[in-house]
Every structure is written in structure tokens, then in C-alpha cells.
């Protein structure tokens, strides 16, 4: 991979961020996901966390475990050179994330912002639901809460900014819109996204070794379900 355009900077004294671009676009994010998997497979033992984001990736390292860097001014500079070497030697391949279909109930009782959003977008509620379920979204990153997927890009005609005042409690499973992004709250949490529905699926499951349903690089499609089906699936998911 071409490393000349990478912007690499310290995120404090125990982490380094590699920024690939300052745009949100699928090809940059695919490179981020590739670097993520590549570095994970290298199992460099001083790395404690690798955090992919929209257009950057951050490597957290254990400073105490690093040897003295004889030819570098700091351990940071040494790590930076190792990371550049790794990324340079990485073969870029086309990757296919998993395709995941997620049921969403767009009933007003679980989509408290549906009316406001449809008025804001000058569309009927049916049109908003149709547009939200019409395409597939890329999971760009997981952040904010355990298992919270940042997905994009939604149809420009149903985009709306976050609420001016976040809600104190957004229920678990809520599906929201923030600008061009759509996301799902895996847990009850305060939050400012425009909530248009709720999925009965668990996005985050404490008792499994892989606690999160989604990962960066996945493709997600939503399909509408009735309130009855929502309640049925929810009761099965939570037993």
C-alpha cells in the first residue's frame, strides 16, 4: 500500500493515529479495515488495541514493554517506522464483509422521531421507511458504546442532524439517524440521534466470546417488521 499520503501523529504518549484521509468514503474505510486485519494478524506483542475509525486507525501500545530505541529519538518514532513498514508491505485485496439483514420495527411507539423527521424531510412516514430499508449500508466503525455501529450513507432525502438536546435515555435497539449516518444503540444510553425505529436483535451480548453482532466492513440491510413480530422476536432474543 502507498504510504506517502498517510498522515501519522501521536495520540498522546501511548498511541499513534494513522489518518488516511479527511473524508468519509468507502474506499478509504476499506483500507482502514484492511490495515486493521493485517495488524491484528501480525500479533505485534506491544500493541494493546487497534481502533479503526471512518478514515483513520489508532494503535495503542504498551510503552513499558518496548526496548530502548537505539536509532530513533523516541519509542514513538520507532513504532511509527515499524507501522509504515508493515503497511507498505501489505497487499491490498478486495475484501467482502458479511451481509447482515436486520429487522426494524418502524412503529411510532418505538420510533419517537419518525413524525418530526418526516416533516423535516417533507416525506410521508412510509416514504422514510421505504428509503431507509431500500439500500445497504457499510459499517464504517464501532464506537461510542459497546457494539454501536456507525453506518453510512443514508439517502440524502432522509438525512437530519442530531437533536439539539440529547435524550436522557434512548432504549436499547433504537435505530437512529445523524446526518448521513445511521446507527443502532446496543444498550440503553443517553443519545442525540433521531430515533426512527427499534430492532429486536441484540447487537451486544455479554455472555458470548464475540460480544458484538457487527464489525467494520460488514454490509447491513434493514427490513421492516410489524410491532407484533418485533415483540415476538424480542422475547426470543432475550431468553
Amino acid at each position: 500500500m502507498d504510504v506517502s499520503k498517510l498522515n501519522i501523529y501521536p495520540l498522546g504518549d501511548q498511541a499513534v493515529t494513522i489518518q488516511l484521509s479527511d473524508q468519509i468514503d468507502p474506499s478509504t474505510n476499506q483500507q482502514v479495515v484492511q490495515i486493521f486485519h493485517y495488524l491484528q494478524n501480525q500479533s505485534l506483542k506491544w500493541i494493546t488495541d487497534i481502533i479503526p475509525a471512518y478514515s483513520s486507525i489508532t494503535i495503542v501500545y504498551d510503552l513499558a514493554s518496548l526496548p530502548s530505541p537505539s536509532t530513533f529519538s523516541s519509542r514513538y518514532e520507532w513504532i511509527k517506522s515499524i507501522l509504515i513498514q508493515n503497511i507498505e508491505s501489505m497487499n491490498t485485496t478486495i475484501m467482502f464483509g458479511r451481509q447482515i439483514k436486520i429487522p426494524v420495527c418502524y412503529d411510532l411507539s418505538v420510533g419517537p422521531d419518525l413524525i418530526e423527521l418526516s416533516q423535516h424531510c417533507k416525506l410521508s412516514i412510509e416514504e422514510v421507511i421505504y428509503k431507509h430499508t431500500q439500500q445497504s449500508y457499510t459499517v464504517y466503525m464501532i464506537g461510542f458504546l459497546p457494539g454501536f455501529p456507525y453506518m453510512a450513507s443514508i439517502d440524502p432525502s432522509i438525512q437530519m442532524n442530531r437533536k439539539a438536546e440529547p435524550r436522557q435515555k434512548v432504549p436499547k435497539g433504537s435505530v437512529g439517524i445523524a446526518g448521513a449516518q445511521t446507527g443502532i444503540y446496543p444498550l440503553d444510553s443517553p443519545g442525540g440521534w433521531q430515533i426512527i425505529g427499534q430492532t429486536p436483535m441484540n447487537l451486544f451480548n455479554l455472555s458470548t466470546p464475540n460480544p458484538c453482532l457487527l464489525a467494520p466492513g460488514d454490509s447491513v440491510e434493514f427490513y421492516a417488521i410489524s410491532l407484533d413480530d418485533f415483540l415476538k422476536i424480542k422475547s426470543i432474543e432475550n431468553t
Binding site: D13, Q14, D49, S74, I142, P211
Partner: protein, 326 residues
């Protein structure tokens, strides 16, 4: 065989060095706010320094030991006492069965730690004992401690002298190498240059004070209103403990142990790891100053602290060894 939580205190949790390797899933590291105090408390009772400990805020908890135990307190000094007799922090103590520890007034610091020799009997979640309150996982039953809970201990300590409620082990550790009262040093953040020239100047020359709304997620600061010269919407990326974010209001927050894994606010700087214990012990209305530093200086200071900890740990084993042979 346990500690009973008579009163839980304010936001008492079980923590260790933090949960590593799961931030890509949005699972933040958690862990002790003041990692050094946690390590010191462990070293004093001859635990591995990464052993899980009890973290607490003021007012502290009231804890009853149903069995003898060797314990130590470190970090904040909230005037711990047993039956009206004051206990020193940074000193190991042998507690008799059915003894109750409580705390009086806030003398120094913000966050206290209690270690027990052998540690607490708990199960890990994703390789760590740290409590993740948001996910209701890790620690003790995934949350802050509640009255009436009982936490089992791993080790059965014997105590021949049952006439006293506790005995002080005559060895007090010095923690001066881990804290200071100077400006907190930071590595400038990626968006620092986007501040106006006068705001850049203000960041390193002004007094900030710690606001009461501070918690394990972040320490909120009150200071001069800082302005960006350009106001582009930022794309979310990873943040870390010590990252100083600028809110649209012009005020800053320093992200602490329960920080989100990613964030979209401009990053003014990153408090160096060696200064995080000092920051963690700042309390409401304390004055805070910032001073820029370089990455090599930050690394040097951190590694010096690691050396100090190593020496501290060795001194503890020598002293306690001598005590037991005595």
C-alpha cells in the same frame, strides 16, 4: 471469608489496569483512574501490581471484614479509621476478623484505593476485572457497589493476635515520585493548530479549574473560552485517556478511564501518562495549568515512573519479609 459493604460510598467499583484489546468493539478500557495508586496499594500488600482493587470516592464506603486480612490504602486520603483510630495511607495493615473500616474527612485527593492481600474472588470479563458500568459487566456484578453486598477474598490470612482490631505493619511507602503540583504536561493534539493564535496562547497560560460534574468518563474544566480559527465538522476517530477535547461551548474536558473509544470533538492535547495520576487526584475547584512537552520527554517521564514503581515494589517485599521474620 469476605468484605461486607455496609455503606457503598460514592461510585465504589472494582478496577484493575483496564480492559485491553476490545476498543475496536467500542468497549472502553475502564480501569483505575489513578493507575499508580492502584499499583502502589497492591505492592504494599505484596500483590501483583495489576491485581484488582476497590476504587472509591468521597464520601468513602463503610466496609466490614469478616476475616483477618492484610490490606493497604493508597491514592486519596479520606481519613480512614477503625473504631475511631486513624489509619495511615500507603502502609500495610493487618486487620482482625469482624473489623469495620470507615472514612472521615477529605484530606487530600479525589480517588482512593483499597487493596487486599491475595485479591478479591471475582471472575474476569474479557480478560479484565475492571467494572464497565455502561455494559453492566466486569467488576463485582457489573456495577457500582451496593449496600449489603459481600465480596469474597481469595486468601485466608491468619492472625494470631486477636486482641487488637488491627496492627500496623511498620513500613510506610513514599509516593512522592508519582505526583507533583506543577503544570500538567501535554502533547499537542492534532487540532491544536486549528485554535486561533490567541487561544493557543491561552491554553498554556491560563488557569483552568476542575468542575464538580467531573466523573470517571471525563474531568470537565472551566477556563477561558477557546476559539477555533476554522470550524470544520470533524470525522470521528479514536480518543484516549488524557485526551483534552474542546466542546462547541469553548470549554474543555479531559477524557478519563471510562472515556468513549471514539470521539468527534477537536483534540487540544493529550495529558502525558506520567501526569495522569496527578490529574486523577485533582478535586473540585482545584487549579489546573497546562504545559506543552515533547513525545521523548513524555516517554522518559513515564519510564522513570515505571522504575520508581519497580523500586517501590522491591522495597515492599524486603520490608514485609523482614517484618514476618521478626
Amino acid at each position: 471469608m469476605s468484605i461486607q459493604i455496609i455503606k457503598p460510598g460514592l461510585f465504589s467499583t472494582i478496577q484493575d489496569e483496564g480492559r485491553k484489546g476490545f476498543q475496536h468493539l467500542g468497549i472502553n478500557p475502564n480501569g483505575a483512574m489513578d493507575i499508580r495508586a492502584m499499583q502502589i496499594a497492591n505492592a504494599l500488600v505484596l500483590n501483583d501490581v495489576s491485581q484488582a482493587i476497590l476504587e472509591f470516592y468521597f464520601p468513602g464506603p463503610v466496609l466490614r471484614f469478616t476475616q483477618p486480612a492484610v490490606i493497604a490504602l493508597s491514592g486519596a486520603d479520606f481519613s480512614a479509621e477503625i473504631n475511631g483510630v486513624k489509619l495511615s495511607i500507603n502502609q500495610p495493615l493487618l486487620i482482625s476478623a469482624n473489623t469495620t473500616i470507615q472514612f472521615g474527612s477529605k484530606k487530600w485527593g479525589q480517588v482512593g484505593y483499597l487493596s487486599v492481600q491475595g485479591g478479591f474472588h471475582l471472575t474476569q470479563w474479557l480478560n479484565s476485572y475492571s467494572t464497565n458500568v455502561k455494559a453492566a459487566a466486569g467488576g463485582f456484578e457489573g456495577g457500582i457497589l451496593k449496600p449489603g453486598q459481600t465480596i469474597d477474598l481469595n486468601l485466608k490470612t491468619s492472625n494470631k493476635d486477636t486482641s487488637k482490631e488491627f496492627s500496623i505493619i511498620p513500613w510506610k511507602g513514599s509516593v512522592k515520585d508519582f505526583y507533583h503540583s506543577n503544570a500538567l504536561q501535554f502533547i499537542p493534539g492534532y487540532e491544536f493548530k486549528k485554535l486561533t493564535a490567541s487561544s493557543q496562547e491561552l491554553f498554556s497560560s491560563s488557569v483552568f479549574s476542575l468542575l464538580g460534574q467531573s466523573d470517571r468518563m471525563g474531568y470537565r474544566l472551566k477556563g477561558p473560552s477557546l476559539e477555533l480559527s476554522t470550524n470544520n465538522e470533524m470525522i470521528s476517530s479514536a480518543v484516549t485517556k488524557g485526551t483534552v477535547q474542546l466542546f462547541p461551548s469553548g470549554q474543555c474536558v479531559v477524557l478519563m478511564a471510562d472515556h468513549q473509544t471514539t470521539g468527534g470533538y477537536p483534540r487540544m492535547g493529550h495529558i502525558i501518562a506520567a501526569d495522569l495520576p496527578t490529574l486523577a487526584q485533582k478535586t473540585r475547584n482545584d487549579a489546573i495549568y497546562f504545559k506543552p512537552t515533547s513525545i521523548d520527554q513524555a516517554e522518559k517521564l513515564f519510564l522513570e515512573q515505571e522504575q520508581h514503581l519497580h523500586k517501590f515494589t522491591n522495597a515492599c517485599s524486603l520490608q514485609l519479609d523482614a517484618y514476618h521474620r521478626h
